[in-house]
Amino acid sequence: MAEVYDIIIVGGGPGGLAAGIYGSRARLKTAILQKGKPGGQAARTEDLENYPGFSRGTTGPALMEAMEEHAKSFGTEIISEEIVGLDLEGKIKLIKSKSGHEYMSKTVILAPGAVPKSLEIKGEIPLRGKGVSYCATCDADFFEELDVVVVGNGDAAVEEAMYLTKFAETVTIIVRRNEGDLRCNKTSAERAFANPKIKWVWNSVLEEIKGNGLVDSVVIKNIKTGELSVLETNGVFFFVGTVPKTEILKGKVELNEQGYIITNDLMQTSVPGVYAAGDARVKYLRQVVTAASDGAIAAVAAERYLAEEEGLHKSS
């Protein structure tokens, strides 16, 4: 018979890696299944200023690299696999991968994460990779001495806009709200307002992205006056929230209307022995620190569940 894991973690972002650290440190047979390189969205975020213990000295990719090493050092196996099917109902959970492998585990921690949301504005999809981007660290240096537009005004939008000013000539942030009103944290807002490369367009939304081959302009709509204006630009970066990568979990564990996994305080899902961690959960704050916290709780809850199951098994 193939080997049975104690904990299999689906997803290798900060939630999954923290669960790996706690699981393998508890001497449980723990594996993380992850498509490609671990690190999740955090590995695409250059400036990470609010992870406790690292003031200005670390980046998203560096922190994720360190978490991966940390998990491996306790014995977490990190396996590059894309999951295509899950059978979570039995005592032994089955996880099928695209490569045709079937993994067995006594518990599962779901940490699939989220991906940037697309607004599907006219021109957005055809001009992807042609000036439309969702990843500042990937694409910022293409825009040296060029002009870019940022859509969004949450933490990610304003912080990534600041990062873009290191490369671009101007960064114009389009904000639906009234002048001076940003959704992001106060520290980032103050810094952005003081940055001479950042320009603001208030009470407005992006109507269309234009360009023949590469982005050359955008049409902006003022939502108060209905007025349309054209702004020449070379790039458009979207930071307008995320959608959870839980398509495959539909009908397997309870999800809310937006597709986020519902858990209790112990990170338990609607299925016994199945836990969730990170951005794919219904939660108040989606950050690296809260994902790591979820992972730790989920792994400890899984450990207790395993101990109880073991106890029942022995007494019966």
């Binding site: 250059e46 990779g129 990843c135 694409d139 293409f142």
Partner: protein
């Protein structure tokens, strides 16, 4: 896989015959690095079907932009020096393989 630069691009891609795949990437692009091992596997598996190249956009930015590449990861297919297909943004290796087999 052949590493392209602005020095050899003309010779190896624009003036070359047959099907050529170019994987545009950079050190800062985590999705590119995540995709790369499977691109290398694909190149080995289908070595007879195309010439497989990679282009680090760091230091070759103008070249990338001349090919209308302004976002990573991007994979372009060239046939006799002309772009015949492109994949960008969320690229899965299955899509790359399907495109390769379609063009080969």
């Amino acid at each position: 896989m052949l590493a392209l630069t602005k020095e050899n691009f003309e010779e190896e891609v624009k003036k070359a015959e047959g099907l050529i795949m170019v994987d545009f990437w950079s050190e800062k692009c985590e999705p590119c690095k995540a995709l790369m091992p499977s691109v290398h596997e694909l190149a080995e598996k289908h070595a007879d079907k195309a010439k497989f190249c990679s282009l680090d956009t760091n230091g070759n930015k103008r070249l990338a932009m001349s090919q209308k590449v302004l976002g990573l990861p991007t994979i372009l297919f060239y046939q006799n020096g002309e772009i015949v297909a492109e994949l960008c943004n969320e690229i899965s290796i299955e899509d790359v393989e399907a495109k390769l087999l379609e063009l080969a």
